[in-house]
């Protein structure tokens, strides 16, 4: 019954999986290779090695640096706003039963049911009337809406797994609901909160479909600047920027994993005690 190491079916499956892995990583790896390519047309194999595209993209194209600053501030603002809003809503949905609960849940998830481009176009029509068009705060607000459904889903799932017993025990011991929430619930669902914060940040940071409708040239985010650059030029400058973005994502991922790791270890230690 047990599938051995030399089982041809399993071997074929693993080979297939490996090929899919190559396919999934190919564009990311080729972007990194191309970022060192001296040929302007991304000729393969690269005729040599150069770092000038990094210098060019970082120091000679002001749009990219401005875009990066915009992206980081928008993503940070959207995350800081969306995580508390989403966590509170998730707590209300998970811990209380009220008549309109399913309706409220559906309404809160609405922003991700609407096609992103349609969402972007509609919010554009609103922003152009209200003066929010082309502002970073307007962009951050729209990103909050895109992040909320994910945060609510993740945190609600975490709260359901946690159960209410611990909070109730704390309250039975005299803690008020707020203390119980911050001293018991928040530390217990920290994994979910970290993951949802990461989601909110990445969703905002990578956003193009919605952001492109809301930005003026001065408030373009980095992915929009890259999108515009890719439409107009083709030289490894974009590869260099992309490689830096990939590196940034890897750092973010490692950071999250290490945070989660210490969490898991701590839990394991607590359990074995």
């Amino acid at each position: 019954m047990t599938a051995g190491r030399r089982d041809p079916v399993i071997l074929a499956l693993y080979t297939f999986l490996g090929l899919v892995g190559v396919y999934m990583l190919a564009p990311l790896i080729l972007v990194i290779i191309d970022s060192f390519n001296p040929s302007t047309y991304g000729q393969f194999p690269p005729p040599g090695l150069t770092g000038r595209w990094y210098v060019h993209s970082l120091f000679e194209v002001p749009e990219f640096r401005r875009g990066l600053t915009n992206s980081l501030s928008v993503a940070a603002a959207a995350t800081l706003l969306a995580v508390p809003l989403g966590t509170a809503a998730a707590y209300g949905l998970a811990r209380y039963r009220f008549r309109a609960r399913e309706g409220v849940r559906a309404l809160l998830l609405l922003p991700i049911i609407i096609p992103t481009v349609v969402f972007g176009a509609s919010v554009f029509l609103l922003y152009i009337r209200t003066g929010l068009y082309g502002t970073l705060s307007g962009m951050a607000l729209a990103h909050v809406l895109l992040g909320l459904p994910f945060i609510i889903t993740i945190v609600t799932a975490n709260l359901h797994t946690l159960g209410r017993e611990y909070e109730e025990a704390a309250m039975d011991l005299g803690a008020n609901p707020l203390t119980a929430f911050f001293k018991v619930t928040v530390p217990s669902i920290r994994t979910g909160l970290i993951v949802s914060a990461l989601f909110a940040f990445v969703i905002s940071f990578d956003q193009v479909d919605v952001s492109i409708f809301l930005a003026r040239p001065r408030t373009n985010t980095l992915p929009i600047e890259m999108f515009i650059y890719a439409e107009n030029y083709q030289d490894p400058t974009l590869s260099a920027i992309s490689a830096l973005m990939i590196a940034f994502t890897v750092v973010l991922l490692l950071l999250a994993v290490s945070l989660l790791r210490t969490q898991e270890y701590r839990r394991l230690i607590e359990r074995t005690r």
Partner: protein
């Protein structure tokens, strides 16, 4: 007792104090969402009815954009192209995604499971622009694919792989595959291993077990994956724009172009058409699936 405690029904927000608490918790997020979404969608509807004179939007209701959209054959072609793109990408994603998900469930060592997850899901963390641009490099005239094809003497001159339907499909499948694998994987992992063992104990070969147990039980995951992939394919914007190079026109691309060209009523009509297309696909497929599931429950396996 703690672990075994039966989950009690959550607190019913019966009295005024509790309702106030619920309002305080859910209210801000809900207000926030609706305060932007409702006026935005309302303005979409309003703008769809307006009239355009040259590049100026005249605020009189003419429904001219609707007439233009539904009578000009160009838009019919765009919609057909969009559906063709979504169908082709979804089928390829399912063909690749199912064995991928199945293979992941067969991995024993946790390190390799994590490696597989990272391989399949990490591209999600990079911007769609980066991914589409990566494919532009790979599939370009002087790119690695054409280099390999010419080195292997499979082609004499570099073939055209970007700025056409093929290029968009290649990029789109890459963009969508994680969303295809995820629902399949969760269904396959939830499957009770005892069921398969029972089939084996009763003398079924592995092929028979797969065909009569695993495969039918993974249908819900397949449906969910197909639906999610299809909807996301219909809504894709960055991949068709960059890899299509203006030659593969789909509704999201037209919406963006028309907003830029100050043809807001037309963009609004296209947006409404896109919502209609995706939501009706979801609705009818849900209906068909629930019907099929009900039918299959009555029939012997």
């Amino acid at each position: 007792m703690g672990v075994l405690a039966v989950p009690r029904p959550s607190r019913l927000a019966r009295n005024w104090g509790q309702q106030f608490v619920v309002l305080g918790l859910v209210g801000p997020a809900l207000t926030f969402t609706l305060a932007i979404l409702i006026p935005a969608l309302a303005l979409l509807l309003v703008n769809s009815a307006y009239h355009v004179q040259g590049t100026r939007i005249v605020k009189i209701v003419t429904f001219e954009a609707y007439r233009h959209f539904f009578t000009d054959r160009f838009y019919g072609g765009v919609i057909l192209q969009e559906i063709r793109l979504a169908v082709v990408s979804t089928i390829i994603c399912l063909l690749i995604g199912y064995p991928t998900a199945y293979a992941i469930t067969k991995i024993r060592r946790p390190t390799w499971v994590i490696a597989a997850y990272i391989l399949i899901f990490s591209p999600l963390l990079t911007s769609s622009v980066v991914r589409a641009y990566g494919w532009l490099i790979i599939l370009a005239r002087g790119g690695i694919v054409n280099w390999m094809l010419t080195r292997l003497h499979l082609v004499d001159v570099p073939i055209r792989l970007i700025y056409n339907f093929t290029g968009v499909v290649i990029g789109l499948v890459h963009f969508l595959l994680p969303f295809t694998v995820f629902p399949m994987l969760s269904v396959l992992l939830r499957m009770d291993p005892a069921v398969k063992e029972a089939a084996a104990d009763l003398g079924a070969t592995r092929l028979r077990t797969f065909l009569h147990v695993t495969w039918p039980l993974s249908f819900p995951g397949l449906y969910a994956a197909a639906q999610l992939t299809f909807v996301l394919a219909m809504n894709a914007f960055v991949t068709p724009t960059l890899l299509g190079g203006g030659r593969v026109l789909v509704l999201p691309v037209l919406i963006y172009n028309n907003i830029s060209d100050l043809q807001w009523p037309l963009a609004a009509v296209e947006a409404i058409a896109l919502i209609g297309l995706t939501w009706s696909t979801v609705f009818t497929s849900n209906l068909l699936v629930s019907k099929a599931l009900r039918a299959s429950q009555g029939a012997p396996a």
